[in-house]
């Protein structure tokens, strides 16, 4: 027990990098697409924490090993899809990504349950899902 306590205190001093940036790059999804405000808010709250260069960290990110856990998630999330770098993708890849995003939302795979458990505001209602999917479908149609 004491060992565990020492380890727990010890790991608090190991820093994590953090995923935050003051600059919104020109390639950001929101800047290159004309996103209506309500959808913008929804994407920001439900997706951007793990899928952009700027995470709005919760207070418990100050505690290890939570910070590691989140860092892992964010790294994985950005590798799959990074809204901040949206416009650097070719149209072909944008179309692929849009399709995947829509599938993930439709099948309730995203946002992750482990995320919405704490971020209840990130949960998408059926009508919000509908609205977002419709908007993304339209972007996809305008690509070609």
């Amino acid at each position: 027990m004491l060992v565990l306590l020492v380890v727990f205190v010890g790991i608090q001093f190991i820093p994590t990098e953090g995923n935050q940036s003051d600059i919104v790059p020109k390639t950001d999804f929101m800047l290159v697409n004309n996103v209506p405000n309500d959808i913008k808010n929804k994407l920001q709250v439900s997706c951007y924490d793990c899928h952009s260069n700027n995470t709005n960290y919760p207070w418990y990110n100050k505690i290890q090993p939570v910070a590691w856990f989140l860092e892992d998630h964010i790294k994985e999330g950005k590798a799959e899809l990074n809204f901040s770098e949206w416009d650097s993708l070719s149209n072909r890849r944008k179309a692929s990504k849009l399709r995947s995003i829509i599938k993930q939302i439709e099948s309730d795979k995203m946002p992750l349950d482990s995320y919405t458990l704490i971020h209840s505001d990130a949960i998408l209602t059926d009508s919000e899902k509908q609205e977002i999917i419709q908007f993304l479908t339209q972007i996809n149609e305008n690509l070609n």
């Binding site: 380890v7 418990y60 090993p65 939570v66 149209n91 072909r92 890849r93 692929s96 704490i118 209840s120």
Partner: protein
């Protein structure tokens, strides 16, 4: 309501603290396993490509690389036709490798740009296929098929190919086959013969 949120938060944190360390270890093991797997696939693909090369040597003026991609694509398709998730994973990884090896230098600049975009997209789909359950493999196979079809339009191929189409899967989905007979990779044994030849290539 707010209390509930805080309590849930605290519970989740306690849970995380208790499990995260053991998780880390488990993850490490998994990673090792994965590393081992890719190595195996690598061996696999090498052997496989060697035999391809011999075949190619006989068809002298063909683009070996694109033909290799096609060969791997067809292996993957056949795995999906026979509902074999493990094989599809394996061939997904092999296909990813041959996509990465495509040499675009002999094409015009415009074709190169397009080929690079196609390959970049296809690699991602192949990668997903190599690590996903069957339903998800099939989702990615749809877009992968479009990529490969677009690639063939540029690179050409030695064999006659058939573009086949199933109107039922995901609002209509196409794929390529070397044989005219329809064997559906989106449904496998469930609806093996659903679909029709939409276009003949070559």
């Amino acid at each position: 309501m707010k209390n509930l949120k805080v309590i849930t938060g605290i519970l989740a944190m306690t849970f995380l603290t208790l499990t995260a360390m053991s998780c880390k270890d488990a993850k490490k093991e998994q990673n090792n396993d994965e590393g081992h797997n890719t190595e195996m696939n690598h061996d696999n693909s090498d052997g496989h490509h060697d035999s391809d090369k011999k075949e190619m040597a006989m068809n002298s003026n063909q683009d070996g690389n694109a033909e290799m991609i096609l060969k791997d694509y067809f292996n993957l398709k056949d795995a999906l036709v026979s509902d074999d998730e493990a094989k599809a994973k394996e061939f997904g990884a092999v296909l990813k490798k041959s996509l990465e090896n495509l040499d675009v230098s002999k094409y015009t600049e415009e074709q190169q740009t397009e080929l690079k975009e196609i390959v970049e997209d296809a690699i991602e789909h192949a990668e997903h296929i190599s690590e996903s359950p069957m339903a998800h493999q099939r989702e990615h196979f749809k877009v992968l098929s479009k990529d490969v079809t677009d690639m063939v339009a540029i690179t050409g191929t030695a064999n006659t190919l058939y573009e086949q189409f199933c109107p039922m899967y995901d609002k209509g989905s196409a794929w390529l086959s070397k044989s005219e007979e329809v064997r559906n990779p989106y449904y496998g044994s469930k609806m093996l013969k659903c679909g029709k030849v939409q276009k003949e290539i070559n």
